[in-house]
Amino acid sequence: MNFVLVEGGGVETPPILRKILRLRKIALILAGIAAWYYASVVLNPENMENTRISEHSLMPGLVTAKFDKTSMIAQIFSDLSENPKNIQKTICGYFHKWDLSCHSQKFRSNVPGIQISGENVYAWIRGSRNDGGEAQLIGVKIGGGRKKSEAELRNLIIAQVMAFAYYAKDQVYWSRDILFVFIDATSNSDDSTNFAFDAFLQEYHLTHSNYSTPTTVIHAEQLKEQCGLLIAGIVYEPVKWPRKSKKDTRIMSAAMNGINGQQANLDLFNSAAKIAHQKLSAGMALFGIYQDPHSYSTQAWPYLIPLRAIYGQGFVAVEGLHSVLGKYSVPALTIGLDHTMGPENGIFIESMCRMLNNALERLHQSYFMYILGDDMHFASIAYYLPILGIISAPLLISAYAEWREIQQIRLSPFIYIAHIIGALQFTGATYAYANFGAKIFDTNLAQLFILSSIIPFGLIYNFVVLARKSAENQAEIRFTRLFLQLLTCLMLGCLGLVNFGLALFGAIFAVPLVFVMTFESTSRARSYIRTIFLFFANPIFLLTFSAINLQQYLEYPQKVGENAIFDLNLAENLIYRAIREHLLFGSAHFALFCLFAQPVWNLLFLTAISTTNNEIDDEKMKKE
């Protein structure tokens, strides 16, 4: 092999890279257009793959369901609706009558900031000939309901599940125990319901005594029986009638998004959908929309479900009770049952249980990372991840350009400072919220946080430290540029593997911003203008803005904000929600916001306001 040695050291770089650099100026536009077209092809359900199904989960589809305890439903339902005060006792009463073990578990929160307490009920059906090493979970909400009708619906679902339990206790073929959990939902907020479920699961998995976590938010009673490995969990709830549902087709609903972008195993959802099709001739509504997989011609715009899937994965940390199971890496679904069809629901539950019973190993040989187009089609990660790559390509190009210009490496101390500021915000906010709640010194915590996070520390540092235009400062800024570009790419890449939705939406905002702000500007005016723009592109503003407009764009029924630009209350609520979800369920949104979005924004000021007086390197390129 031969090298071409350049005078003054090193080896000549291959020319192809220099050619790429020519594209730098239009890279952003090119990447944007390319990503748009690619996405519109990949995310179109008609181009997606059909959901195949593995033999494990196909076989139970062939089992004839024999659920015949329909009479039990009415009886239990009447009992439940007679005494709504002590539903727990009623449920356990039934299970004890059937001589199945049933216990209740009280729980409360450990931290003053969050006042939640309640009582769950759990009951076992132990298979007679297994060793109890494994179990499957069935979860139902009890109590609560804002309106009377809603409470009745819940009771109906409880009754149907318990009727199934009554049927299942006489079956001999359970190779896995069935665990029924009745989650306390008396206080109607979703958070407290999820908290209740988490209280149970934490005791189930003994994470309270787990040496790796210091203290837990929840204090709950210990479980009174032996617990096996959970292979999957299904949460049943009354279906909310989705949009675009025709009256002639039966509609059930399914939700599978977990915390931090986890998703339920595709096999699990898939066999649920297949069973619904075969046994109940019903369709699965996803994200509140039912789309008949066979009639796309009638429908104008097929992207709604995929986009909502991405949005939900990205921003909805806890979609339902199943998300809490995801926290313990148990594949789980929430299935909305049509309460009007009692026997069919019994049959559905039975089929699901037998599917999970016959599945031989853990559900593993399937997709965990996918975007559903409808209940028959999905796009796998190999197809949709490139979108992210295309979007963030410009940053890589300009990073390489920066690198070729860099003379000396000079790490800016502000990189540390910015991150430490973020860390302080993070710890401060969470600590304060956990211990004093939303109000500290009768001021609103969120407002304090917002205030602290719109101060442009970067600007201050710039005027104080980097005021005079010396070679060191130039080098420092230049390296900060490189650092920012690489950091953004790296973060988006890592995030994209875990939580594609968040990464994608993050990239849509971050990449252009970073690209523009780190581009060398010769004119001082340009720098000032973009600095002002940067100031208004504060992460919180962007978050609120997108929260309002994305939801409207994705046709979510509920209205989010007053005006379409910014809404303080909404911002506060977003922050509170993020903190709460971090504390209760370990969602990473708040951490990401404080430890990456915020510092990047601060650091961008250094590069945004700086001007380079040496020639921009495209003239250099012309020379080459």
Partner: protein, 507 residues
């Protein structure tokens, strides 16, 4: 027929055979049946005639110097709080082997044991080869007989939770009985005995100076299939066969039911009874124990043993086997109101052998003691995984020897299933290639730079390099084509073979 045998036996060694069936109602519509068949034989030198004692067991004893051998197979879970004390020796889901035998050295003992296990597989139709038997240190596992012997006694114990028990085992156990077609053994109807809530069977072989004994036991808890028309516990309806002929050679052959003993030694007519006795109410006197597992990822987990004492102060000896695929965090093991008096730990250098952790605990009446053993889940070599690796592997149940002031008995917790981290099973070649490449990357330049020197050189023509690249490109294209067309190598081979055959025909 056996009159003639009796005629023969006059000159034989003294042998005895007895059989026993115990029937109890354990709850409203659950019934427990305990079969016991025993044979004993006095050891006479150079006396090789066998009448009722199975010859094969005697050979086993002689060949492997067995003092005490116990094999238990079980299926299902015993409900302590409903059914009272588990029938001793207590079974647990899977198979247990416990052996006392003479050997001259550790290696000799291991070798002997391997042969013994294989022999057992032959006799009982089991598949115990996977079981790892470990020496149990000072603490007891079962109540243990004492020996007076010259040679060294080795005591080995092991559980194989994966082992299943089914009708073929029962068939083999029946083969050991002297009366197969008569007496109580008629009632051993496989399809009934396995359609139950709980099934356990065991084989005990003992030997001392004077006599050698064997016992075959089968325990089953039946469930009344249709409780609506009352519980009809007729003997014939439970076992689907009448007790018609009696076992003549048995010295004792009796059925215990309804709190009385029926002697079925010599029947004339077919025998049948209904079990009418009310279920015995089990007050919570017993020690209960169960194991739960904690942890939610595949990196580390928790083994959580809960021991609930009854209303008697008791001394517990907990023995927990920790298989080789988990690594206990010894410093993190914690106890909740357990009063530990002795600890014992048995480990081994052998990679595949498991560790045995034992505690002696004093526990007051009505108290609950909890042992928490955090462990790391190990990743194993490809060959060490079971065929269904993703299903996980079992940590066997803890054996708890309870000794109270009045009596002593053995209980078990339940095995737990540990989901282990698994590698990709389709990768070996790729991984070898990648890592070897990494080594080549360092080796190449080292070799190059140490044997050659960087020096000015005239520019060389790149023609051959182009050719090489072209060839490589073609190869890659071909591979991709084969990959996407899913062409099987065997098909390619067959195509070539057929082509060559055609050529031969042409000639």
């Amino acid at each position: 027929m056996y009159r003639i045998f009796l005629l023969f036996t006059l000159c034989f060694a003294k042998e005895e055979y007895w059989e026993n069936l115990k029937l109890d109602r354990v709850s409203e519509n659950e019934l427990k049946a305990e079969f016991r068949f025993g044979a004993s034989r006095e050891n006479l030198k150079n006396e090789r005639d066998f009448e009722v004692f199975p010859r094969i067991l005697d050979e086993l004893i002689e060949e492997y110097d067995v003092k005490y051998l116990l094999v238990i197979m079980g299926q299902g879970r015993w409900k302590d709080d409903k059914w009272g004390r588990k029938t001793q020796p207590g079974a647990v889901h899977g198979a247990q082997v416990y052996a006392d035998f003479e050997a001259n050295s550790e290696e000799g003992a291991d070798k002997k044991l391997r042969f013994l296990i294989e022999a057992l597989n032959g006799i009982l139709c089991t598949s115990l080869s996977q079981i790892s038997l470990i020496t149990s240190p000072q603490l007891e596992i079962f109540k243990r007989p004492k020996y007076s012997t010259s040679q060294q006694i080795f005591r080995r114990y092991g559980i194989l939770s994966r082992e299943t028990t089914c009708t073929e085992n029962l068939t083999r156990l029946r083969k050991l009985l002297a009366c197969r077609q008569s007496g109580i053994s008629i009632l051993l109807h496989p399809s009934k005995l396995y359609d139950v809530l709980y099934h356990a069977s065991h084989l005990i072989v003992k030997k001392n100076e004077k006599i050698s004994e064997m016992e075959v036991g089968i325990t089953a808890v039946f469930k009344n299939k249709n409780p609506i028309q009352g519980s009809n516990w007729l003997l014939s309806s439970i076992f689907e066969s009448k007790l018609s002929s009696s076992c003549g050679i048995a010295t004792k052959s009796q059925i215990e039911a309804n709190n009385q003993i029926y002697d079925v030694k010599n029947l004339e007519t077919s025998f049948d009874i209904e079990i009418t006795s009310k279920p015995i109410s089990n007050e919570a006197k017993l020690v209960k124990g169960w194991t739960s597992q904690g942890g939610s990822d595949q990196q580390n987990g928790i083994l959580h043993i809960s021991l609930q004492n009854g209303d008697l102060d008791s001394k517990l000896e907990v023995s927990q086997i920790l298989p080789y695929f988990v690594q206990p965090r010894y410093a993190k093991i914690s106890f909740k109101n357990c009063q530990i008096t002795r600890k014992a730990l048995q480990t081994s250098k052998n990679e595949k052998s498991s560790a045995l952790l034992q505690y002696e605990i004093i526990i007051k009446s009505g108290e609950k003691c909890e042992i928490t053993i955090p462990f790391d889940k190990k990743i194993l070599r490809l060959d060490d995984y079971p065929p269904d690796a993703n299903h996980g592997m079992h940590i066997p149940a803890a054996v708890i020897f309870v000794s109270q002031k009045s009596d002593s008995y053995t209980i078990h917790t339940n095995p737990i299933l540990v989901a282990l981290p698994v590698p990709d099973f389709s990768m070996p070649f790729n991984v070898i290639c990648f890592v070897a490449t990494a080594f080549a990357l360092i080796f190449g330049p080292l070799q190059l730079y140490s044997t050659m020197w960087l020096a000015p050189s005239p520019p060389r023509s790149t023609f051959w390099r182009k050719i090489n690249r072209l060839i490589l490109l073609i190869l890659i294209v071909l591979c991709l084509y084969a990959h996407f067309m899913e062409i099987n190598l065997n098909e390619v081979r067959r195509g070539i073979e057929q082509y060559l055959e055609k050529l031969n025909e042409l000639r």
